[in-house]
């Protein structure tokens, strides 16, 4: 049990998908202007990543490996990801039209979020079991949500700060992202190997 807890902690903080592995930077800069949209985007991505990782594991071990079709891995994963994203989009459009409007183009663009494809591929590379893959993916997407919300909070405050016109706006956001990544390096010794 403690092993899984450490795994979760390691994927959320130590090996954070955005700030340490540098995956999923597009929504990290794109949807982090407001706290509530950042949170919703994080939740939608969490849903997609967790489901696609589970689906990708099953596809890998039940379809690709028995038939020796490992060379079709990326194609198959993309197919599964696109289907899950479409499904998420339909559900959000039905249940939360306001959120659908706010997320706009970034919702279908979860398909091309490299974290969504990257996590299943990393799981295959490390030969993880189903449970470990699932917990790892969930932890990584929680880490993604956490970083997105933290960064949105910082940017909300930065928007009101007196910055020199050279740095105001996006340049300041990039610098802040760099400082945040440095801060997350401080978690490196948290989980024993």
């Amino acid at each position: 049990m403690s092993e899984y807890l450490f795994l979760l902690l390691s994927t959320v903080l130590v090996n954070n998908v955005v700030l340490v592995k540098f995956l999923g930077l597009c929504p990290f800069m794109g949807i982090s202007k407001k706290m509530d949209t950042a949170l919703s985007m994080g939740l939608a991505t969490t849903f997609v990543i967790t489901f696609t990782t589970a689906g990708a594991w099953l596809l890998e071990h039940w379809l690709l490996m028995p038939l020796g079709l490992e060379y079709l891995r990326i194609l198959t994963y993309i197919l599964a990801i696109a289907a899950v994203v479409q499904f998420t989009e339909m559900v959000i459009r039905k249940t939360a039209p306001a959120l659908y409007q706010v997320l706009g183009i970034y919702l279908p663009l979860i398909t091309t979020n490299c974290a969504v494809l990257g996590l299943p591929l990393l799981n295959v590379q490390e030969k993880n079991s189903f449970i470990v893959s699932l917990i790892g993916a969930f932890g990584a997407s929680v880490g993604f949500t956490l970083v997105l919300v933290l960064f949105a909070g910082l940017r909300e405050r930065l928007a009101l700060a007196k910055a020199s016109p050279t740095f105001a706006g996006t340049p300041l956001a990039f610098i802040t992202a760099g400082l945040l990544a440095l801060t997350f390096m401080g978690f490196a010794g948290l989980v024993p190997h």
Partner: protein, 176 residues
């Protein structure tokens, strides 16, 4: 080869089936009238009607919250088309002349500040910093946004004068 083909085909068909069923289950009842009204409006999202873009204006029209004369760039032709679609009376008294207008740059006083260039919703203005700007006749919808931001009042809406080069047959809608 065969295994790859069949497995991907079956996977694709299965996912397509699931999405097809989900599309029925999670169907959003959109107002079909709104889509038709969006098609009539110019679609340049200039916001002069006070609604967030043409989709917002179409929704307000469909719910009866806005008059059919709300669209300044669309002018008389759009107002008439909207009134015909909604089956309402149209009062054109408030509309300006139906003369087609376009933005024109007075080159003597243009300072090349690029402000009009940045606000143009249809990318009808060409130019760069410190260069005199110019307007594409074909792309300009005469929305008037450039007129508001110009610091030297050098860009103004002018009626398009019909010349031998620019004369065309009327469109059937306008002729009728």
């Amino acid at each position: 080869m065969i295994a790859a083909l069949t497995s991907l085909t079956i996977l694709g068909a299965f996912l397509g089936l699931v999405l097809g069923i989900a599309a029925r289950v999670f169907k959003v009842e959109g107002n079909p009238l709104t889509a038709e009204l969006i098609a009539i409006l110019p679609g340049s999202q200039c916001g002069q009607c006070g609604f967030p873009g043409c989709a917002g204006a179409a929704q307000a029209l469909a719910e009866g919250r806005a008059p059919v004369t709300l669209c300044p760039p669309g002018g008389r032709a759009v107002a008439l088309a909207l009134a015909a679609k909604l089956g309402t009376e149209v009062n054109l008294a408030g509309m300006k002349d139906a003369v087609p207008m376009m933005a024109e740059v007075q080159e003597e006083i243009c300072i090349g500040c690029t402000r009009c260039f940045k606000v143009c919703p249809t990318d009808a203005i060409v130019g760069a910093a410190q260069q005199i700007h110019s307007v594409f006749r074909e792309a300009c919808t005469a929305c008037g946004k450039c007129e508001e931001v110009c610091p030297t009042e050098s860009i103004k809406l002018q009626p398009i004068l019909v010349t031998l080069q620019s004369w065309r047959w009327h469109k059937p809608v306008e002729a009728a």
